[in-house]
């Protein structure tokens, strides 16, 4: 059972600004203001995951997974190429916290990341079915496309919830 042991050799780690597409287990750790986005097509059991850092790319093309405005179209295109239909795809977002009370509260990058992704998903007619965003704490996420697109979120205090 791959899902009973989410943290194993088969799990692909997704770092900041990285993304993966496939049916293998994926994981990203320590989302603060960053946003994890998972897309899943239940008909094909295919998924995509990205670790977004900032809302706007401002024309930068080198790391499309790093920015919300380039990451969403990229993932949608990759899934479309594999035969997914946008209307079948379901999305979940995780992260977008504000870890520090004193710093950057005026920037609120976490909230802006989440908002940008919500708007883009709507534009692509992709259903956002669940979110675990905001607050002042970090989150790690495992995503199992082969197990019904199961998304599990862990916090620093050890609590873990399925999304």
């Amino acid at each position: 059972m791959p899902d009973s042991q989410p943290y194993n050799d088969q799990t692909t780690m997704i770092g900041i600004g990285e993304y993966r597409v496939g049916s293998f287990p994926m994981m990203t750790i320590g989302l603060g203001s960053c946003l994890g986005l998972t897309l899943f097509d239940p008909n094909l059991n295919l998924g995509a995951m990205v670790h977004i850092m900032l809302p706007e790319s401002a024309g930068r093309k080198d790391r499309p997974g790093k920015y919300a405005d380039t990451a969403v179209p990229l993932l949608v295109n990759e899934l479309t190429d594999l035969g997914c239909k946008n209307r079948a795809v379901i999305a979940k977002i995780i992260g977008g916290a504000a870890m520090f009370e004193y710093f950057g509260t005026n920037l609120n990058i976490g909230e802006r990341n989440a908002e940008k992704v919500r708007i883009l998903l709507k534009e692509y007619h992709i259903q956002l079915v669940a979110e675990d965003v905001g607050g002042k704490f970090g989150r790690s996420v495992t995503f199992l496309p082969s197990n019904g697109g199961k998304v599990t979120v862990r916090r620093a205090d050890g609590t873990s919830t399925d999304l």
Binding site: G15, I29, G30, C34
Partner: protein, 203 residues
Amino acid sequence: MKLSTVQADALQELGNIGAAHAATSLSVMLGSTIEMSVPAINMIDLSQLGTIMGEESAAMVVFEIQGEIAHGGYILFYITQESAVRLTNTILGMKEINRPLSEMDQSALLEVGNIMVSAFLDATAELLGIVILPSPPALTIDMAHAAMQSLIAQMQEETNEVLLFATELVCKEYKIDSDIILMPERSTLLRIIELLENMMKSS
């Protein structure tokens, strides 16, 4: 961006001086000996941050670097949760190890971080001949990666790699393991290197 050996050596020396002052202040607070590692300079790609900072829960007291270099980056006092409890126990005269960090622990950590980071910055600023000041501190006790990632996201200069400059400070007597981590903006790093190079030329 690649650092030359000379530049890396000069930075390491700067870090040594800063960390030595921070270690001394910690030593005074604990009334015990502090061992200090050689400062490690890591130029790290953002996608690889997880290999250095993980999911472990840590207390981090964070300061923005201000003064003559405005928005110069961040400097932080990093301590694992277990070490943080042992540190505040030692300072506040408590015994219980298996407990969450209370408000009193948090203010103690803020104070310790403040003293150590100020000592670090004072010493390095004096050597460089410029004014470097820490912002008021911010404390987080959570996943180390999540905190670090949030700081990188709000840096002024958009970047795909960061320089992490870490010195480990260990108190064997009380089993306290902590780090001072400097994460300068790219322009700050270049400015510091320039100041160091001028200093070497003139001496």
